[in-house]
């Protein structure tokens, strides 16, 4: 996982990528540790809120409401942001968004930008495009800095470098910052990042950010962060460019009373994250003199058009589903081949690809429902996963292996004779594959072809020697009685 950006169009399928990553015991240990810590912190601060379920319900209704009136709220945001001195741009896709950013950076007279962590810019691989245009992006979030200097890729929405431990981070910093004597406590590493970036904050004239919320009522933008790198990028440059998916809009300032309770507790297990910034257009004498915001679609309207998939857009990017997911906790984020990993990635990524890529992701789940339980806006991820699996099967057409198998099963189940024949055939066909264990029980450790997916990770018990029907019939015969049908 080095250098090349996570791109669902070219990534290996989930089972292939996961298989490889499962061999990286250090990565699995790092991911398990980090997700355990966040989950425990989250449980503690969620537990102290007697009204948590009421807040989740409010969050869900609020997000559903927003999506149902998305055009109204986007137009309101545009009007109010413009009135406050901001410039609003619209981008149909990532290519348009990147072109707008590059043009704006060039117009600002800079050939470098400081960046706040933004998954939306990761989604469109903005850094690669900036570099190709001769613009140097500096990631300023500690985790994103680790990723950028290590030529790595983010593996979590909130804590993108959680797959790295302190020794690994130290090696990257020693090499890239030329600090041979760097210590390895987290404090040493954070101090190194502070010094490394301080000079950039003070001198780079253009900042690029994402957004957590766009407030339609006021035209304001809200960014939630911890380190203060966000505030640096939002206040010190002369030009600020914000890229936001059209799903980031919220109706009113008052809605922050729900979202600013749900998000920090779910994301980092804090009652409130250290810094929330809200700004509205340009504030004379305070912060950038020019403010641009790019409202990007990039397939979000396709998701909106699918009534069952639509709830995916309600996501506020807290990452709680990733921490809770038994699959993500084993594989880490890179296996998903997308900057959006874990359960939310399994539903968001294929839809952002309009189901042309990442078709294995809806299957990267045991449907256990842990993600749904922790989701602060109650996105029913298992429901959407099943909906997308259905789409994938339909996409494969009537002659896809799954469709053929299901039709075959239906034919067998429709007739008692065929069902019995299939059982007899199964018992015969399995014979060469069955191995007896110490207790005389038969187990199948390998199945051919597509069925092999099952035996890859578990044994299958052999079929019973006798079915219930056979036994019942024999019993009735032995008693000399009649058996009904």
């Amino acid at each position: 996982m080095s250098g090349t950006a996570l791109d669902p169009r070219t990534a290996p399928t989930f089972p292939m990528a996961a298989h490889k990553l499962m061999g990286d015991t250090q990565l699995r240990k790092n991911v398990r540790h980090a997700t355990d810590v966040i989950q425990n912190k989250r449980a503690k601060v969620v537990g102290e809120m007697p009204d948590w379920q009421g807040l989740r319900e409010a969050g869900k209704s609020l997000r559903e409401h927003t999506m149902k009136h998305l055009d109204v709220y986007l137009e309101q945001f545009e009007r109010n942001c413009t009135a406050a001195g901001g410039v609003v741009h619209w981008a149909r896709n990532g290519e348009e968004a990147k072109r707008i950013v590059i043009d704006l950076v060039k117009a600002s007279g800079s050939n470098e930008v400081i960046k706040i962590k933004s998954m939306t810019t990761e989604e469109i691989q903005l850094n690669t495009a900036l570099e190709a245009a001769g613009i140097r992006p500096y990631e300023t979030d500690l985790a994103e800095l680790i990723i950028q200097l290590g030529k790595d890729q983010p593996s979590h929405i909130v804590v993108p470098a959680l797959h790295k431990n302190r020794q690994q981070i130290r090696e990257i910093f020693q090499r890239e910052m030329n600090l041979p004597d760097l210590g390895n406590t987290p404090q040493d590493l954070a101090d190194a990042a502070r010094l490394f970036l301080r000079e950039k904050f003070l001198k780079v004239k253009t900042g690029v950010s994402g957004a957590n919320f766009l407030i339609a009522e006021t035209g304001g933008v809200c960014v939630v962060e911890s380190e203060g790198n966000g505030r640096m990028c939002l206040t010190l440059p002369e030009t600020l460019i914000t890229i936001a998916g059209i799903d980031k809009v919220v109706p009113r300032f008052q809605d922050l009373e729900v979202l600013l309770q749900l998000l920090p507790r779910s994301a980092t297990g804090e009652r409130m994250n250290p810094y929330n910034s809200v700004w509205t257009g340009v504030h004379p004498g305070d912060g950038p003199k020019a403010f641009h915001v790019i409202l990007m679609d990039n397939a979000r309207t396709e998701i909106l058009a699918d009534e069952e998939g639509r709830q995916t857009l309600n996501c506020i990017r807290c990452g709680a589903c990733q921490n809770a997911c038994p699959v993500y906790r084993q594989t880490g984020g890179h296996a998903y081949g997308s900057v959006y990993a874990g359960p939310i990635g399994a539903i968001l990524t294929p839809q952002l690809q309009e189901m042309h890529h990442a078709q294995t992701l809806p299957y990267a789940s045991s449907l256990c429902g842990a993600c749904y339980e922790v989701c602060p806006v109650k996105i029913n991820i298992p429901e959407v996963l099943i909906h997308l699996r259905n789409k994938v099967v339909k996409q494969n057409g009537p002659f896809g292996p799954e469709a053929l198998a299901m039709r075959g099963m239906a034919m067998i189940f429709r007739s008692e004779a065929r069902f019995r024949a299939a059982q007899r055939f199964g018992r015969m066909a399995e014979t060469p594959l069955v191995r007896k264990d110490g207790n005389g029980e038969g187990w199948i450790g390998w199945l051919p072809g597509l069925l092999g997916g099952w035996t890859q990770v578990r044994d299958l018990q052999e079929m019973p020697k006798e079915t219930f029907r056979d036994w019942w019939e024999k019993r009735a015969d032995a008693k000399g009685g009649k058996h009904g049908n």
Partner: protein, 215 residues
């Protein structure tokens, strides 16, 4: 070009929704959204203050409670304890807060490098939230522009206890009238948990935060 994308996106949204929503319909639907959560805290004022102090301590912030008449002495005490000698202050900060013997520089639009040369910053706050231990600063007299409370390494914030609210919803409704101002919620010193989920104080924002509560 930009207009093209705008029209295309809005029309895709409308066709996805099957309707063209109106602002009136949206406003009516918004008013009916469920809000079955705690809006207003029930505790007494002293319970609120106690909770705020508890939360601030949780973030490793030092808290000093003083009577209004002892405010200047309180500021002096905190600055001495931190060894802060060169402090930034925003425009409009009351002189009554400023003890002698400290070099106070008024932020009259200093450059980033000049801000960086200040060891600390002294501000007031619009309000504080007990439940989350948050201070809310806005660009008004006594609080100043956002970079001022960010670049120096130490932040001393003076909060009148009358400005302490219980919950996040109470804070948001108090801020509604001035929602258009640049607003920053500060909950503890700058921090990160990006390395092995260990919370480390102080990355880019002030590494040290103290609060004086004025009764």
């Amino acid at each position: 070009m930009a207009t093209d994308a705008r029209t295309a996106i809005l029309s895709k949204i409308r066709s996805a929704l099957g309707t063209k929503a109106t602002p009136e319909a949206a406003a009516a639907a918004w008013a009916g959204l469920p809000r079955d959560y705690v809006r207003v805290s029930t505790g007494t004022k002293s319970e609120l203050i106690e909770r705020l102090i508890d939360r601030l301590h949780d973030y490793d912030a030092q808290v000093l409670e003083v009577e209004a008449t002892d405010l200047k002495a309180g500021v002096a005490k905190m600055l001495t304890a931190r060894g802060a000698t060169k402090m930034l202050i925003p425009l409009g900060l009351s002189n009554a807060l400023l003890p002698e013997g400290v070099d106070f520089t008024v932020d009259t639009g200093l450059s980033a490098a000049e801000l960086d040369a200040c060891g600390g910053v002294l501000t007031e706050a619009t309000l504080a939230i007990a439940e989350t231990g948050s201070l809310v600063l806005q660009n008004v007299a006594g609080q100043g522009r956002r970079a001022g409370s960010l670049v120096p390494d130490y932040h001393l914030c003076v909060v009148d206890v009358a400005k302490v609210v219980g919950t996040v919803p109470e804070a948001i409704s108090a801020l509604q009238a001035t929602a258009g101002l640049a607003t920053t919620f500060i909950s503890g010193p700058s921090a990160t948990a990006d390395i092995e989920m260990t919370r480390i104080k102080g990355v880019h924002g002030p590494r040290f935060l103290d609060v004086i509560l004025v009764h």
